[in-house]
Symmetry: C2
């Protein structure tokens, strides 16, 4: 059989703005992908936020036989901004009116969906209804299932004009070609202008205008069976719409109560929704049989083909080529850059088992934070509920939460770190780990240091000395003096003093005790301090997955690029104790794991020499002398 693309490619359009809609639309997309058997083309009308989130999501998702296009909602605003609208969706609620203009002029048909829709069947079935349109029909809609347009909801309730109960615009079959031909753009405008003279504003956004338009032009509408838009608002007539599960095609969560809406079968609907909410999106990467479209770029294809399955480090190299799905700014985010250009973002990565650190970090660092979270789809939802329930996290808008979806055996720690690093929006970054608490006031102190040290014009990495406590109930030191006395008392130690002193010894803690000005230290093998650098520093080397050498290699490359390592005399951070992390990969710490790590180190050294010339040979020599 030939690829069904020849038969039909299905086009879907969606207006999507802001962080929450960008998250909701993913559940819609998953439900569509789960059932589909055709190539799809998604058209998203987006604001800047949704564009950033969805473009990176789809790029990393790499679903075969799925195309995605974006259209700038800002450019369309002027088309509808003149319409007063009381609906909570705001100006974006009106944008479906502009689709003939927004979408490519050669696109003849499109299915338009709200973001709060869940599909229970193959979308091709809905697409097929276009064929049932008579020659005159230009728009397919389901009847509204509430009594709104009957105008009897309360005394003096006066809705916009509509045919009977009117139609719901959560699911629309738009015959774009015909709409353009009949002059839709002028027609809806005239309707809106005329009605607004008496109505003053829309109550249900685009839906009021669509209905007024249809009331005037009833022959243009093709009424869809109601199961194509089962509306779960209160007092809905939706129950009359289906007698069996198999009758249900599309569920529309159009109550402001969303999942908490009351309905005889709401549990069934909720289950269906939850199925997709937590569904592992990686599983939707399955190819359509007979459609040889490549989702992954050719370079990746080639790299995969070049891998040698007999290489003992195959698993490591394979992991490095895994493209993890990334959902940037999973939660509301709002950051305004400072004018003095000295701002610093705290950058860290974590997985589920460190979630309880977030509140404490927020209390210790008031500046912007960029966090990458390595999670499954289900865990991301658990995290969402956690964040929405936390007073501390809810009140912070300058924290960017970026989900990197789990896949494969290893923890791709440097890939996750790079996602956090690349999505920091300040000129400087503080590269830390999530199990550390910064001293109180570190954010202000670092910002002053950035100016003092002339970071804008010199190449420096500011070292924040790291300490650790082995006790849970630590009264966190308020000053360097207090820290030093706790160090003397044995309540605190320098970080990894007992197990891996080399990692931080070059910080020179002895000198730090009495230092009052920043001092320069030299790179040494295995040095892995926590540093503040400009955001345009080298990325972490992603060949190091799982554990070992992930930060060491980064500091080495900073040194190769001739960053000066400057220890700050009045900064400190403390590692908080935690149980050993549960990570399957630790069970892979076999001799072959260690051998591979050595092979990867060698290759990293070779790459350094290639990039930075003979000076970089010192790393290899240093390594060999250990």
């Amino acid at each position: 059989s030939e690829c069904r693309e020849i038969i039909y490619l299905i086009h879907v359009a969606c207006v999507c703005a802001g962080h929450n809609a960008s998250r909701d639309v993913v559940t819609l997309v998953k439900s569509v992908l789960f059932h589909r058997r055709n190539p799809l083309h998604f058209h998203f009308i987006t604001d800047t936020v949704a564009n950033r989130i969805l473009s990176s999501l789809f790029q990393s998702w790499m679903v075969p036989s799925v195309q995605v296009s974006f259209y700038d909602a800002d450019e369309l605003k002027s088309e509808v901004s003149w319409i007063p609208n009381k609906h909570y969706s705001g100006i974006y609620g009106l944008m479906k009116l502009t689709l003939t203009k927004a979408l490519p002029s050669d696109l003849s048909k499109v299915i338009v969906l709200d973001t709060d829709i869940t599909f229970a069947t193959d979308i091709a079935e809905l697409w097929g209804i276009f064929r049932k349109f008579t020659d005159k029909q230009v728009i397919g809609l389901v009847e509204n299932q509430s009594d709104w347009y009957l105008g009897n909801l309360w005394k003096n309730h006066k809705p916009w004009p509509a045919l009977g109960r009117g139609f719901n615009t959560g699911v629309i079959l738009l015959y774009l070609e015909r709409l353009r031909r009949i002059g839709w753009e002028q027609m809806w405008r005239l309707t809106a202008e005329r009605e607004l003279m008496s109505m003053l504003s829309t109550s249900l956004a685009d839906q009021d205008i669509f209905n007024a338009f249809i009331k005037q032009n009833p022959v243009l509408v093709h009424q869809l069976p109601c199961f194509w838009n089962v509306q779960l608002s209160d007092h809905t007539r939706s129950e009359q719409c289906y007698t069996e599960v198999s009758d249900l095609k599309v569920i529309h969560w159009n109550s402001p109560k969303k999942l908490r809406v009351k309905n005889k079968h709401v549990e069934f609907f909720r289950n269906l929704y939850l199925t997709f909410l937590e569904y592992d999106g990686n599983l939707l990467r399955r190819e359509l049989f007979g459609c040889p479209t490549q989702a992954s770029p050719e370079s990746l294809q080639k790299a995969l083909e070049e891998l040698d399955e007999d290489d003992q480090c195959y698993d490591f190299r394979r992991e490095r080529l895994t493209v993890h799905r990334v959902h940037l700014y999973f939660l509301q985010y709002d950051y305004t850059p400072t004018e003095d250009n000295t701002d610093i973002t705290l950058v860290a990565q974590l997985s589920m088992d460190r979630l309880q650190m977030l509140e404490a970090i927020c209390k210790h660092w008031e500046g912007p934070i960029s966090l990458a979270l390595y999670m499954s789809d289900a865990e991301a939802q658990q995290f969402l509920r956690y964040a929405q329930a936390s007073e501390v996290l809810k009140n912070r808008k300058n924290v960017g939460y970026h989900i990197v979806y789990k896949e494969g055996q290893f923890y791709p720690v440097n890939l996750v770190r790079n996602v956090a690093l690349k999505n920091a929006n300040t000129p400087y970054v503080f590269l830390t780990d999530v199990d550390f608490l910064p001293m109180y006031g570190l954010y202000d102190y670092l910002r002053k240091s950035v100016v003092q040290m002339d970071m804008a014009h010199t190449k420096k990495a500011l070292v924040v000395p790291a300490f650790e406590t082995l006790r849970y109930r630590l009264s966190f030191p308020k000053s360097k003096a207090e820290l030093l006395s706790m160090l003397d008392m044995g309540t605190l130690y320098t970080f990894r003093y007992h197990v891996w002193p080399k990692g931080h010894a070059p910080t020179n803690y002895a000198k730090w005790r009495t230092a009052t000005t920043p001092y320069k230290v030299e790179w040494e093998p295995d040095f892995e301090p926590y540093v503040v650098v400009r955001r345009e520093c080298p990325e972490y080397d992603q060949r190091f997955v799982g554990f070992g050498w992930n930060k060491v290699s980064h500091i080495m490359e900073l040194d190769a690029q001739e960053y000066d390592l400057m220890v700050l005399p009045n900064a400190f951070m403390i590692h908080m104790p935690h149980a050993p992390s549960f990570d399957i990969s630790k069970f892979r710490s076999s001799s072959s794991y260690r051998n591979c790590l050595n092979t990867l180190k060698d290759e990293f050294h070779q790459d350094l020499s290639r990039k930075y010339g003979s000076a970089a040979l010192k790393y290899l020599t240093a390594q060999r002398n250990i």
Copy 2:
């Protein structure tokens, strides 16, 4: 519309024996339930292990419009034990031959499935094929997709006789009524006896006999389209079986390599399988529209109806009525009772974030362990991978792992504890928490104490004194003397010394220091020691969900039942530090939470008085004096 049961109830039979098959069959069942729209009746031929696991699973799963029946495989063994069989499935591999005998005599048709099957469509479609049988046909099968029965796999390869490539018995439509009528039971036996004269044994178990039978009686077979049993063995012809995703109906993982089998579309198949493997089974409790069958018992229905939604403790009371799915003995388990009747099971419960404690506990306690794990379906699979990769856990067969599936907002800690308690298989239990390590040798010491204290004939609770360390790197004390000196050094503390001394103060640590014989202590309010008791002790009170009063109420009831609390002079256990657990419920610790806890305490006191008379009033008085 009327319930489809009137149209047809679909019967499915499955032979299932042992822990692994009992786990695998759940994925099959989930895939069937996911797509089904009809009432189902599952018939399981089981050994003792599978019966225990599956009966409790289905009882707690409470899927509407699903009936389950069990048939004892042991009683059927004699029917097939005379057949020499080389297949790895052993005697259970032959049991499908006995279904006409095993299943009820009035059952006329059944679909028979292997446990390594995944459904990609509604099973009603397969059931519908019975209608296409001619009057003569009694059995529906898919052609075998390997070359096995062609007899050319290697030199002198001599398979059992078959028609062409033969048929695969992973999916069978059995027309029981007609089979009985034609005398199937004698027929297959005669065939087997005759062939065994030359073949000596079966290689592929029942499949060889079915094929030999069909070779002799070709008119009896109805050949099914191959997509009803896409066989993913090596060198399979399965690719010729489908050209599009929608052609796939049933996938059969019949290679010993299971998911690691090589096949052009294996990734697609694997995704489908993984979808159900980690699918939240709670979501399958959805009712069939129009089928008013009650899955939950009437008493539960009634209790639910009696709940008052306006009660401020509604959430607590609702949670208590939630029936959590329980999968007992999720991993291999093998325990032989000791003959002296003094054995003790360590009983504890945990969730994902304490998994790393398991290895340590196993190293400190060599006796039997009963663990209840509170997890989602996806987490249970993660746990399975963890356990299979751990040398320590793999080598222990006397640990019963019981999964209690997550549902709702609260952590139902006492329900989970009760699952662990009820599934201990020894006369005595050591009731502990998973973040404690028992002293080395505690198991032996407790067994001796059980005899010494005459636990068999007296009502005693043996108290194991509890200590704690706030440090990670503890060198675990080897003796009481060493523990006491660490206590003096401040390396150890008595448990909760800093935050809640009342919980263990009645243990009388001062007396314990010098004690050499067990001593009795009196109950006091808020006492919550860790104790050894007979297994038939009271259960934990399940009204206490989330945090607070879960162990206190249990000790109180032991006291009400006049258990003597005896502190053991040479036993101890140490609490290991861990980060505060990530639990959404803690964010619910509002004033209303505390109010409800008080209400529940009052009700518990009232229940105690009702059960144990006026003597139990002392608990209420004690409570009020605090």
